[in-house]
C-alpha cells in the first residue's frame, strides 16, 4: 500500500495562532515525492499559513514536521532551502526595485570574485534568461526592475526562482492566480515536469478544474484543519467544493473516497503511524 511508505513531507498537528485567530488548528498534511499534492480550502482556511510554516517563513506554535520520517525544525528559510525546499509565496516575496535576474539569485548570488563578494552580474543575467526561457516565460528585459513588470510576469519570476532551485519539495501558493491562459498552461506543464524530476509539488489553487487536471492527490483544509483527502483521479469538483465548504462532512468525505482502495484516509484520523 502506498499509504504505508513514509511520505517525503509530513506535518502533524500544526498549530498557529494570530491573537484570537486560530489560523492552524492541529493541521496535518502530507506530500509525496514525484507527486503533485493540491492543497485547497476556502479563503482564510489556513493554506498560506501552513505553507509558510513548512517553508520556514513562519514558526508554528506547536506541531511536528517530518521529512522522510525524520523530525526537522524549520526555524528559518535557510533551513528549508538546505532541505531542498523552495516556495512561491502568495505575496511573491520579490524585491520590486531589483531586476528579475537579481531577484532570481537573491540569497544565492554568483560571484566574480568571491572573497570580496563581487557580483558576477552578466552570469546571473545569463542564467536568468535561460531559467525564464526554460519556463517559457517571455521577459523582454531581465534587467528591468520587477516593479515595472505585470502581475503575471512577476508571478513568473517567483515561479522561475522556485523551479530553478528546488531539489526536493516545491510549494506554490496560487502560482497561476494572475496568469493568462497561455502562461497558466505553461506553469501547469512545468509543475508536471518538476514532478517528473521526482520532486514533491504542493499546489495551492482555487481553480478546481486546474486542481483536478494537474494534481495526483488533493488535501482539503477547512478552518485550520485538514478535513479530507482525495485521490484526484477519483474526485469530482462537487466533492472538493463540498469538503471545502463543510457541506460534505469529514466522515462522508472519508467514506466516499475511502471506499475506493487507492483513496486517501480520513483527514482527521491524525498523522497515522509513520514508522
Amino acid at each position: 500500500m502506498p499509504e504505508e511508505s513514509t511520505p517525503l513531507l509530513e506535518a502533524r498537528d500544526l498549530v498557529k495562532r494570530y491573537g484570537q485567530v486560530q489560523a492552524l488548528d492541529e493541521a496535518n498534511f502530507t506530500a509525496g515525492e514525484g507527486e503533485v499534492t493540491a492543497l485547497i480550502g476556502d479563503n482564510g482556511a489556513g493554506k498560506s499559513t501552513l505553507v509558510k510554516s513548512l517553508a520556514g517563513a513562519l514558526r508554528p506554535d506547536s506541531g511536528q514536521i517530518l521529512i522522510s520520517g525524520r523530525p526537522v525544525t524549520m526555524s528559518s528559510p535557510l533551513d528549508a532551502r538546505a532541505a531542498g525546499i523552495e516556495t512561491v509565496y502568495q505575496d511573491l516575496a520579490l524585491a520590486p526595485d531589483l531586476d528579475a535576474a537579481a531577484n532570481l539569485h537573491l540569497g544565492r548570488e554568483i560571484y566574480w570574485f568571491r572573497p570580496l563578494r563581487i557580483l558576477n552580474k552578466p552570469e546571473m543575467r545569463r542564467r536568468a534568461v535561460t531559467a525564464f526561457a526554460d519556463l517559457g516565460v517571455e521577459l523582454r528585459d531581465v534587467s528591468a526592475p520587477v516593479a515595472s513588470l505585470s502581475g503575471g510576469q512577476r508571478q513568473s519570476v517567483a515561479v522561475a526562482r522556485a523551479v530553478a532551485y528546488a531539489s526536493k519539495i516545491i510549494f506554490m501558493d496560487e502560482p497561476t492566480a494572475a496568469l493568462g491562459v497561455l502562461q497558466r498552461e505553461r506553469v501547469l506543464d512545468n509543475i508536471r515536469r518538476v514532478r517528473d524530476r521526482g520532486i514533491a509539488v504542493v499546489l495551492i489553487s482555487h481553480n478546481m478544474p486546474e486542481v483536478l487536471s494537474v494534481a495526483d492527490r488533493v488535501e482539503v483544509l477547512r478552518m485550520g484543519r485538514r478535513v479530507a483527502r482525495f485521490r484526484a483521479a477519483d474526485a469530482t469538483v462537487e466533492q472538493l467544493v463540498g469538503a471545502m465548504t463543510g457541506a460534505l462532512t469529514t466522515e462522508e468525505a472519508t467514506v466516499r473516497s475511502g471506499n475506493g482502495d487507492s483513496a486517501g484516509e480520513n483527514g482527521n484520523g491524525d498523522g497515522k503511524d509513520a514508522a
Binding site: 517553508a55 517563513a57 528559518s76 528559510p77 535557510l78 532551502r81 538546505a82 531542498g84 523552495e86 516556495t87 509565496y89 505575496d91 516575496a93 520579490l94 524585491a95 520590486p96 526595485d97 531589483l98 537579481a102 531577484n103 532570481l104 537573491l106 540569497g107 544565492r108 548570488e109 560571484y111 570580496l116 563578494r117 563581487i118 557580483l119 552580474k121 552570469e123 543575467r125 545569463r126 542564467r127 536568468a128 534568461v129 535561460t130 531559467a131 525564464f132 526561457a133 526554460d134 516565460v137 517571455e138 521577459l139 523582454r140 528585459d141 531581465v142 534587467s143 516593479a147 515595472s148 523551479v163 530553478a164 532551485y165 528546488a166 531539489s167
Partner: protein
C-alpha cells in the same frame, strides 16, 4: 551554498544574444535610460542653479577658486552622505551624522592633545584616525541594534543618537573646543594638496568611489537595495536582514567618524557648534541625488552630485548677498520639494 542544484546553469560559451531578446542598448535605449535616470535630473538641477548664480554674479561665482573651495567645504558632508546613502537605501535614516562627526573629532583630538598635540607625527595621526573612525562605528553599531533588534524606528533611534553624541562631546570637552591636531593632519591633509588637488578632496572622492563600487557591485550593496525594497523578501531568501542593517548603520557611523577627522584637519580643531544641521544638508543631498526615502532606490553617483546642491546654494546665496539665515530656509524648502518629487514618482510608478 547549500546542496541545492541549479538547473539554470548555462554553458559558458553561450554568449550569443539571449533568446528571450535582451535588447541590446541601442541609441534610443540609452536616450530613454538617460531620460529616466534620476542622476540626469540631479545634474540638470545643479547646472541650473550654477547658471543662475553665474548670471547673477558674473565675476565672483564659479571661479576655479570657488569650485575647489566648495569641494573642500563639502568633503566631510560628502563622506557622511556616502554612509547616509546606504542607510536611506535600506529605508532608514540617520539623523545622528553631524553629532557623530563631532564626537569622533573630539575623541580623536583628545588623543592628539595628550600625545604631543601639534607636534605629533604620522603614527599619532594614524592611531587617532583609527580611534575616531572606531568610535563612530561603535556609535553606529548601537544605533543599528536599536533599529534592527529593538525595532525602534530609525528616525527616533538616530534622533536619540544625535542628541546623545553631542551631549557626550560636550561632557568630554566641557564645552570648549579642543585645539590644534598634529601637524601632518592639520597642515598636510588640511592645507596640502597632491598634484594640485587638495587632500580633502582626494580623500572624500576616493571614499565615494570605493563605496560607490561596493554599492553597485558587491553583495553588500545588493542586500542594501533588497532590504530597502522588501525586507520580507530578503528574509525569505535567507538574507540576514538584522545583521545587515547593523552593518549599514555601523558603516554610516564609521564614515561620520572619518568625516570628523577631515573636519578636524580642515578647521584645525574641533567645531562643537558647527554641525547641528549637517544631517539636514546630508539628507537633502542624498534625496536630491535620487535616493528614495522609502528605500530600494538611489545611487552613489546621484549622491555625489546631489550633495553639491546645498553647498552651491549656500555659496551662491552668500555671494548675491542674502542673509545667511536664508540658506537654512532654502535648504529646508529644497528637501521638502525633493521628497515631494520622490512621492510623486513613486505614485506614478505604482499606478503603472
Amino acid at each position: 551554498m547549500t546542496g541545492t542544484r541549479s538547473d539554470a546553469t548555462v554553458t559558458p560559451d553561450d554568449t550569443s544574444p539571449p533568446r528571450s531578446g535582451l535588447r541590446l542598448p541601442g541609441g534610443r535605449e540609452i536616450g530613454r535610460r538617460l531620460f529616466t535616470a534620476n542622476e540626469t535630473w540631479t545634474i540638470l538641477a545643479l547646472v541650473l542653479i550654477m547658471a543662475f548664480f553665474t548670471v547673477r554674479a558674473p565675476n565672483t561665482f564659479l571661479t576655479t577658486n570657488d569650485l575647489s573651495l566648495m569641494a573642500e567645504n563639502t568633503s566631510p558632508l560628502l563622506i557622511m552622505a556616502v554612509g547616509q546613502t546606504f542607510v536611506i537605501l535600506t529605508a532608514g535614516i540617520d539623523l545622528s551624522v553631524g553629532s557623530v562627526l563631532v564626537l569622533a573629532s573630539v575623541v580623536s583630538d583628545e588623543y592628539f592633545v595628550h600625545n604631543g598635540g601639534g607636534k605629533g607625527g604620522w603614527v599619532i595621526v594614524l592611531i587617532g584616525t583609527v580611534i575616531g573612525v572606531a568610535s563612530g562605528a561603535g556609535w553606529g553599531t548601537v544605533q543599528g541594534f536599536l533599529v534592527s533588534k529593538a525595532k525602534i524606528p530609525p528616525l527616533i533611534a538616530t534622533l536619540g543618537g544625535f542628541g546623545a553624541a553631542l551631549g557626550v562631546s560636550y561632557l568630554i570637552t566641557g564645552g570648549q573646543d579642543l585645539g590644534a591636531p598634529p601637524g601632518p593632519l592639520a597642515d598636510t591633509i588640511g592645507l596640502g594638496s597632491v598634484a594640485g588637488v587638495s587632500w580633502l578632496i582626494v580623500i572624500s572622492f576616493v571614499v565615494t568611489l570605493v563605496f560607490g563600487l561596493i554599492l553597485a557591485h558587491t553583495r553588500f550593496g545588493r542586500y542594501s537595495y533588497a532590504i530597502g525594497s522588501n525586507p520580507e523578501a530578503g528574509r525569505r531568501a535567507g538574507v540576514a536582514v538584522d545583521r545587515h542593517l547593523i552593518k549599514v548603520y555601523a558603516l554610516a557611523g564609521a564614515l561620520s567618524g572619518l568625516a570628523g577627522l577631515i573636519s578636524l584637519a580642515f578647521n584645525n580643531g574641533t567645531t562643537l557648534t558647527g554641525h547641528t544641521t549637517d544631517n539636514l544638508t546630508v539628507i537633502t543631498g542624498v534625496v536630491l541625488g535620487g535616493a528614495s526615502l522609502f528605500g530600494g532606490r538611489g545611487s552613489m553617483l546621484g549622491t555625489f552630485i546631489g550633495i553639491f546642491i546645498p553647498q552651491v546654494l549656500n555659496t551662491g546665496l552668500q555671494i548675491i548677498g542674502l542673509n545667511e539665515y536664508w540658506q537654512q530656509v532654502a535648504i529646508g524648502i529644497v528637501l521638502v520639494c525633493a521628497v515631494y518629487l520622490d512621492q510623486f514618482r513613486r505614485r506614478l510608478r505604482e499606478r503603472a
